[in-house]
C-alpha cells in the first residue's frame, strides 16, 4: 500500500514537472516534402529549423517530419503535430496548401505558415522568396555560357512559381544571347533523383550544354558531371560539392531569419497573418559563389545585376515584354505587379511549347 502510494505520488510529481516544462516551451513543427539530406530545398528549411533551435535554446522545441507526400498524408502529419501540442507549424511545399488550410480550420489556436502558397486564413500566413530574382542572374550567366544555344530546364510542376522562374531565366538569357533556346521537361516531382537524372540526360542528349533545374536533388548535377561539358546551377541550396564545374553558381534560400522572427512573434503573442515575399534585397534569396569557370566579365555583370535587383533599382520583369502569343504584356519601362507574378500562368514571347494544364 505504502509503496503504491509512493509510486503514485512520484508519478504525479513527474507528470507535473514535465507538464510544467512543456508549458514554457514553444513547440515548432516543420513538414518537409523531401529528406533533410536532399542537399537542396528541404536541407535549407532544416537549416532554418536548426537556427531557430540555436537562437532560442531551451525555450523552444522543434519537431519535423520529412518526405511527406503532398496530399492526404500531409493532412494527417499536420493534424498529428497539432495534437501533440505544436504552437507553430511550417509547411514547406506548395502542394501542402489545401491540407494546411483544412487542418488550420480544425486547430484555430495553432499558427500555420505555408511556404510558396497564396491561401491565407486568420491563423495561416504564407511566405515565399522571390526566386525569380535569382533566376535572372542564372539566366544571364547561362546565356553567356552556352555554346550550343540550347538551355535545358527541368521543371517540377507547372505552377506559377516555376513558370516565373522559367520566364525570368529566359528573358535574361535572351538579353545576352538572342539565339538562345529553352528546352523544358516537366518531371512532376519535387524530389526524385531517378527522374531528375533521366530528364537531365535527355536534355543533354538533345544538345543542351546548360541545365537549369527547379527540382531539389543533386542528381542533375551528377548527370552533368558525367557528361563533362555541361554547366549547372545549384537549386535552393549551394550544392557546392559540384563546384567549380559543372555547378558554376546557385540560388540559395535562407529561411533562418524568417523562421526566427516568426517563432519570436508566437512567443510574444504578436503573431499575425502575413503575406511575406522577400528577395535578394532582404536576404531570403542569395546567389552562391560564381565559380572561376565563368569568365570574369560575365561574373562582374552578373554581380552588378544581383546588386541592382537587391537595391530595387531594377525589376526582373521590366518591359517591353510580350506574352508567348505575341500580345503585349508590359510597356517600355513598366514593371510587373506582384498580383500578376503570383498567378503567372503564361510564357513570355520566344519560349516554345505549351504549359501543361
Amino acid at each position: 500500500m505504502k509503496l503504491t502510494s509512493l509510486l503514485a505520488s512520484a508519478a504525479m510529481a513527474l507528470g507535473l514537472a514535465t507538464g510544467a516544462v512543456a508549458e514554457d516551451k514553444t513547440k515548432v513543427g516543420f513538414v518537409y516534402v523531401g529528406p533533410v539530406g536532399d542537399g537542396g530545398w528541404t536541407y535549407e528549411h532544416n537549416k532554418g529549423r536548426l537556427a531557430v533551435e540555436e537562437q532560442f535554446g531551451d525555450k523552444v522545441e522543434t519537431v519535423y517530419v520529412e518526405s511527406v507526400p503532398e496530399g492526404p498524408d500531409a493532412e494527417r502529419v499536420m493534424t498529428q503535430m497539432a495534437l501533440e501540442g505544436a504552437d507553430l507549424i511550417f509547411t514547406t511545399s506548395f502542394g501542402y496548401m489545401d491540407p494546411t488550410i483544412n487542418v488550420a480550420k480544425k486547430f484555430p489556436k495553432v499558427k500555420f505558415e505555408h511556404a510558396t502558397g497564396y491561401k491565407t486564413a486568420p491563423n495561416v500566413s504564407v511566405y515565399s522568396a522571390r526566386f525569380y530574382e535569382g533566376r535572372a542572374v542564372q539566366g544571364h550567366i547561362a546565356g553567356n555560357m552556352t555554346k550550343s544555344n540550347i538551355i535545358g530546364y527541368i521543371g517540377s510542376y507547372p505552377i506559377p512559381e516555376v513558370i516565373r522562374g522559367i520566364n525570368s531565366a529566359f528573358i535574361h538569357a535572351r538579353k545576352v544571347n538572342p539565339d538562345v533556346q529553352f528546352k523544358i521537361v516537366w518531371a512532376y516531382t519535387w524530389f526524385d533523383p531517378a527522374k531528375e537524372a533521366d530528364a537531365a540526360k535527355v536534355l543533354i542528349e538533345q544538345g543542351a550544354d546548360v541545365i537549369l533545374q527547379h527540382t531539389d536533388s543533386t542528381a542533375p548535377q551528377a548527370a552533368a558531371q558525367a557528361a563533362g561539358n555541361v554547366v549547372t546551377f545549384g537549386q535552393a541550396s549551394d550544392m557546392s560539392e559540384y563546384a567549380p564545374f559543372p555547378r558554376v553558381s546557385s540560388i540559395i534560400d535562407d529561411w533562418a531569419p524568417y523562421y526566427i522572427a516568426r517563432t519570436q512573434a508566437v512567443m510574444d503573442g504578436t503573431w499575425e497573418t502575413a503575406n511575406t515575399w522577400h528577395g535578394i534585397g532582404e536576404g531570403m534569396v542569395a546567389i552562391g559563389e560564381i565559380s572561376d569557370a565563368v569568365p570574369a566579365d560575365v561574373k562582374a555583370e552578373a554581380l552588378a545585376l544581383k546588386a541592382a535587383l537587391g537595391d530595387g533599382s531594377y525589376h526582373a520583369f521590366t518591359g517591353p515584354l510580350k506574352k508567348q502569343d505575341g500580345s503585349d504584356w508590359l510597356a517600355d519601362g513598366e514593371t510587373a505587379d506582384d498580383g500578376t507574378l503570383a498567378g503567372m500562368n503564361f510564357y513570355v514571347e520566344g519560349l516554345e511549347g505549351d504549359i501543361p494544364q
Binding site: 529528406p35 533533410v36 539530406g37 536532399d38 542537399g39 536541407y43 518526405s67 535545358g152 528546352k183 523544358i184 521537361v185 516537366w186 512532376y188 524530389f191 526524385d192 533523383p193 531517378a194 537524372a197 533521366d198 530528364a199 540526360k201 535527355v202 536534355l203 542528349e205 538533345q206 544538345g207 536533388s217 543533386t218 542528381a219 551528377a222 558525367a226 560539392e241 516554345e352 511549347g353 505549351d354 501543361p356 494544364q357
Partner: protein, 306 residues
C-alpha cells in the same frame, strides 16, 4: 516540335541503361519461377541491394565491391523467404509481399546516413578503337560492365535452361515437384538455390539504379521497378529473350517519352508518362498469345511427406 533534335544513337545507348535494372531483376525472378516458386519480394530485394551496394561503394571506394555486396545482400534477404516458404511452408504470395515491405523499411533504416552523398563513379568500358566508332561505338562498346553482365546473364540462363542437365532438373522441379522428388532430386535444396540466385540478381539490379543510373541514394528509389520485372516475367512467358525484349521496350519507351517531351511534342505529359507501362504490357500480351504456359507447380509448396 523538333524531332531532329532526338539523336537515335544516344537514345538506344541510354535505353539500354534504363532497361538494365529491370532486366537483371526479371532474369533472376524467371529462374525462381521456373523452379516453381513465386517470389513477390523482388522490389524489396532490389532496394536492399541498392542501399547495400551504395553503402559499400561509398565506404570502400570501389563499385566492384559494391556490386558484390549488393548481390550478397539480395541473396541473404531472399534466405528469409526460403525459411518462410521452404522450411516453414508459409504461403508464398503473403511471404513475398512481406519481403517487399520488410525490404523497403530495412533499406530506409540502413540508408539513414547515406542520403545526399555522391558515390565514386563506376568505370565504363573504353576500348580505344571500338568505343570511338560512330553509331556502333556508343551503342555497343561504351557502357559499364554490369550492363554487359545483364545481357550475358540472359544468354547464360537461356542456354542453361534449354541445353543443360541442370536446367532440365530445375524445370522438372518447377513442373512437377512430386515426380522430381520421386526421381531423387532434392526439391527444397534446388529451390533454395534458385531463390538465392533470384535474390542476387535483384540486388544487382537495385545497385545498378543507385550506383549507375541515378547515382544517388534515396528511400524507395527503385520506385516499382521490381513489380515491373515481376510482370515482365509473366508476360514474357518465362522465356529469357522475351524478358530482354520487354525490358528494352520498357526502358526504350521511358527514354523516348522524355525525349518527345524535350522536343516539344504536343502530347499531354500524363499520356507520355503512362506510355511505357501500356506499350510494354500490350506488346508482351500479344506475344504471349502462343501456347506457352506457366510452370505447373508455380506457387505450390512442397513437402516430402505429401
Amino acid at each position: 516540335m523538333d524531332l531532329s533534335a532526338i539523336n537515335p544513337v544516344l537514345l538506344i545507348a541510354s535505353l539500354m541503361v534504363a532497361a538494365t535494372p529491370i532486366l537483371l531483376a526479371a532474369i533472376g525472378e524467371l529462374v525462381v519461377e521456373k523452379a516453381g516458386v513465386l517470389n513477390l519480394g523482388v522490389e524489396g530485394m532490389m532496394i536492399v541491394g541498392a542501399i547495400a551496394g551504395f553503402a559499400i561503394t561509398v565506404e570502400s571506394g570501389s563499385p566492384f565491391f559494391g556490386f558484390i555486396a549488393a548481390a550478397v545482400a539480395g541473396a541473404i534477404l531472399s534466405l528469409l523467404f526460403v525459411v518462410l516458404t521452404q522450411v516453414a511452408q508459409a504461403n508464398q504470395v503473403a511471404s513475398g509481399l512481406a519481403l517487399t515491405l520488410f525490404g523497403l523499411g530495412l533499406s530506409a533504416l540502413m540508408g539513414q546516413g547515406y542520403v545526399g552523398i555522391k558515390p565514386p563513379a563506376t568505370p565504363k568500358l573504353d576500348i580505344p578503337v571500338l568505343s570511338d566508332l560512330p553509331v556502333v561505338g556508343p551503342i555497343l562498346f561504351s557502357h559499364d560492365l554490369v550492363l554487359y553482365l545483364g545481357i550475358a546473364l540472359t544468354a547464360a540462363v537461356w542456354a542453361a535452361l534449354k541445353y543443360t542437365r541442370m536446367g532440365l532438373i530445375l524445370r522438372a522441379v518447377g513442373e512437377n515437384h512430386d515426380a522430381a522428388h520421386a526421381l531423387g532430386y532434392k526439391v527444397v535444396r534446388i529451390r533454395t538455390l534458385a531463390i538465392m540466385f533470384g535474390g542476387a540478381c535483384a540486388g544487382l539490379g537495385g545497385a545498378y539504379i543507385s550506383l549507375i543510373r541515378v547515382p544517388q541514394w534515396t528511400e524507395g528509389m527503385t520506385a516499382g521497378v521490381g513489380w515491373i520485372a515481376l510482370a515482365l516475367v509473366v508476360f514474357a512467358s518465362w522465356k529469357p529473350w522475351r524478358a530482354l525484349l520487354g525490358a528494352y521496350l520498357f526502358g526504350g519507351v521511358t527514354v523516348v517519352q522524355l525525349n518527345l517531351q524535350a522536343a516539344g511534342v504536343a502530347i499531354p505529359v500524363e499520356y507520355l508518362a503512362m506510355s511505357p507501362y501500356l506499350i510494354t504490357i500490350l506488346v508482351l500480351v500479344i506475344l504471349s498469345a502462343d501456347k506457352s504456359s506457366a510452370p505447373a507447380a508455380l506457387g505450390r509448396n512442397f513437402h516430402a511427406s505429401r
